[in-house]
Amino acid sequence: MALYQIEHVSFRYPEASVAMLADINLTVEEGEFVLLCGPSGSGKTTLLRQLKREIRPEGQRGGEIRYRGSLLDDLEKRCSIEEIGMVFQDPDNQIVMNTVWQELTFAMENLGYPTEQIQRRIGELVQFFDMEDWLQLEVHELSGGQKQLLNLASVMSLRPKVLLLDEPTAQLDPIAAKEFIQLLARINEELSMTIIISEHRVEELFPLASRIVMLKAGEVAYAGEPQETMREIWNGRDEFFMPYLPAVSRLFLGAGGMDAWSRPEQSIPLTVKAGRHWISEYTKALAESLARTPAEASALTDGVSGPPSKTSFAPLNHGQTLNEQVIQQTAQRVVQQAERKDGLQSEWQAEQQTERQAERPGASLLECRDLFFTYEKHAPLVLKGCSLHIRQGEFFTLFGGNGSGKSTLLYQIAGVRKPQRGNIFMEGKSLLRSSTAERSRWIGYVAQNPLLYFTRDTVRAQFKDRIERLELSLEQGGRRGQAFTVSRQERLYELVELFELKESLDQHPLDLSGGQQQKAALILVLLAEPRLLLLDEPTKGLDPTSKMKLAAQLEAIRERGTTILMVSHDIEFAAHYATRCGLLFDGKLVAADETRDFLRDNYFYTTIIHRTAGEFFPAAMTMKDIEMLWEK
């Protein structure tokens, strides 16, 4: 018997004009690992919430959901609570109790388990989740990753049959997210628990999933096994869902999609390891075959011609030819080893050089000189002689692990805290000596959480308030600062257009979606026309579609003369869009270089494409690069 039978399920929120879910049909078998993908607002959360009675939102429901054969509504209360577990997105909001221990026992206490049973289960859980060290702590002392583990453990204490997870790692840093996902894999593997998860981290989750469900606008766009689904998306030329596939798989499909399709036994690689294996096998095989018939190869080369493509998915227009190109190229590389490689590289370097000159106006915008900082008198230093140089018009990305001082550095630049030693210059002028008003006009800061910015009832009122405050501060500041070419009202209009927020102007800021809130916060900051925009992990929790949009919007802002300094964990995003990158470690900037050079020299801190194909194409960082190589 299937665990869940979802038949013709539809759902509409009260007062909403469009249905959030429309005619969803799915069957989930016991022990499956189901991955729900799709852009924000496609109904993933709504669908997950339909699967557990206690958290179903108010609204108009249609269709039937059966859990182990019986209708969800007929399910016994206790059974529904115990057997269906749910972990939500935000680690903080789900925690109810004050200490880790209390939170772990919360669910069991609610159901009135006897004390001995509770203690026994806790004993087991703590072992499984490796929580001994922090079992006695209070909740506010935990990291985000620990909080989410705690949430999972508390749900697991009831020994559910199925786990529902709604973007559980969206708020976590990559390392904590990986740990969390590995734990899910163990739960699925060792306990054969059914898992239904909605998540954007496809790289880690595709290899685990037994089934992929792609949602779009409240409907199931694709549903099936990962291999099948990927082929289906690729063959259907579905550009919308292509970014939702793992990078390695896209590389494979882009290179040999048609070829692979003709040989169904060849499975699509999902991980770096599999991808690398595939590339080396391929190269070897082709080298052999080409060595036998070099004439054929050269004939093929001559046959290929086509304009270089700009979009990431260009190869699907001529997948076949591209595939042969890469075969031929790699083969050539094997045959004429050294020269070929050097040639490619020098070519790249030349191209880079021109690119650099084009992108670097040269003038220095911000300089941090030997910053030393600690939060408390006897606490260890967070910044230890950190120096950073940002040039006009750059898009600089700063990487660094947790506690490396990234956020602290941003705070220093934004003027929240002053360094104990060192200085920060903005176009040669010391920021430490300038007034708060001046500094807040030059530098904009967008925090991770957009909710920090909202004080008014509507988005429109919020913008109006911001403009009024800016005018006021300018009057007080005696209109030094920059002169504005357009009025703020016009600027607001432009920004609202750019960020597609026109429809939402009269809504309450808290009623917007997370993505829209982030845009509203960006607009609030940008209204001051800052010279330098500081972004703290702007891509956290965003779906691939929104990321691409955000990149375009940031580009538009940069064109207007705003320099961007971004702190991020999102290497793929930086590889595509940043001009320079730096790595902060132990309170110092240990590396800073043009994006491409930076990533090429890195071993861990580099893109999946580079890790997969780097050995064969040392200059390749993104799908785009690989395609350009193939074009040659």
């Binding site: 557990k52 206690e54 958290i55 209360k77 206790r78 609570i81 115990e82 749910m86 939500f88 935000d90 903080d92 909001n93 789900q94 925690i95 109810v96 109790m97 004050n98 200490t99 221990w101 209390q102 772990l104 026992t105 919360f106 669910a107 069991m108 206490e109 609610n110 159901l111 009135g112 388990y113 004390t115 509770i118 203690q119 806790i122 209070e138 909740v139 506010h140 508390s154 009831l158 705070y411 934004a414 003027g415 929240v416 007034s435 708060t436 008003a437 500094r439 807040s440 530098i443 800061y445 925090a447 909710l451 920090l452 910015y453 909202f454 004080t455 405050r469 808290l510 609030l524 001051a528």
Partner: protein
Amino acid sequence: MGRADMVYGFSGLHPRLCLLYFIVLLAACMMFQHPVYLLASLLCIIVLLFSLDGGRALKKVIKGYLLIALIISISNPLFSSRGATILFYMMDRPVTLEAIAYGAIFALSLLNILLAFVAFNLVVTPDKLLYLLTPYAPRTAFVITVTLRFVPLLTRRLQQIMTIQKVMGYLQPGGSKKHLMREGMETMHTLVGWSLEEALQTAGSMRARGYGIGRRSSGTAYRMDRRDRLVLWIMTVTGLNIVIGALFGVNHYEVYPRLQGWQWSVQLAIHLLSYAVFLAIPLAMNGKEWLHWRFIKSNM
């Protein structure tokens, strides 16, 4: 707040006994006006505070508390002219020895109560208090726990919001009081809207894990062991003796109209002894622990 430094000794007793001890101690501090009793209590509480955390908590509060005690002992004779022994006149009002003594006694009593609460906070930690409250008022205990969980969360959020206000140029150093109050309220608006909105998700997570479907049980259990029962027995015997003695007025002390002299009696001796034993319970337990560790250390 949070975990006390010492979880052995007296703090390791069953929470119910700790609470009982402090109730009796506080009642005694409030009701007994005999100077000997008050001094004995003060001495015991101070030693207890030192044995609990090396006197750190005591150091933090002692200055303020002494000041309050001083104010009371000085101001009482200024307002009250009761008593027969007139020492001198101040602003045409007689200042009596009795009024001064009364002021001193009550200042001592207040000091005892305040310090006993300091010790109380160290021994009966919030989680123990909530554990004790749960069987009688489960929902109240639950609400307090949840509120406790929210306080650090909201404090952190407030700090984040204020950071943003600062970066946006709204919070400037040296602003007027009115400006600061206005901006402070803006901070609150952001917090209130945001936090109440997100608490809805917390409600979802509570219901998803079965809150409200029936009577809650407890995953924490303190069990009365042999030592607990022994201490309880000592506390009951001495405590009852104290109550009975107090009812018969054995330790009654009269300030007015004239300071009472030292009247020794067998009853008073027994009573005082009981009180001393009662006061010594936590000291003996902590002292034993202390000796134990010293002994181990010297044997290593």
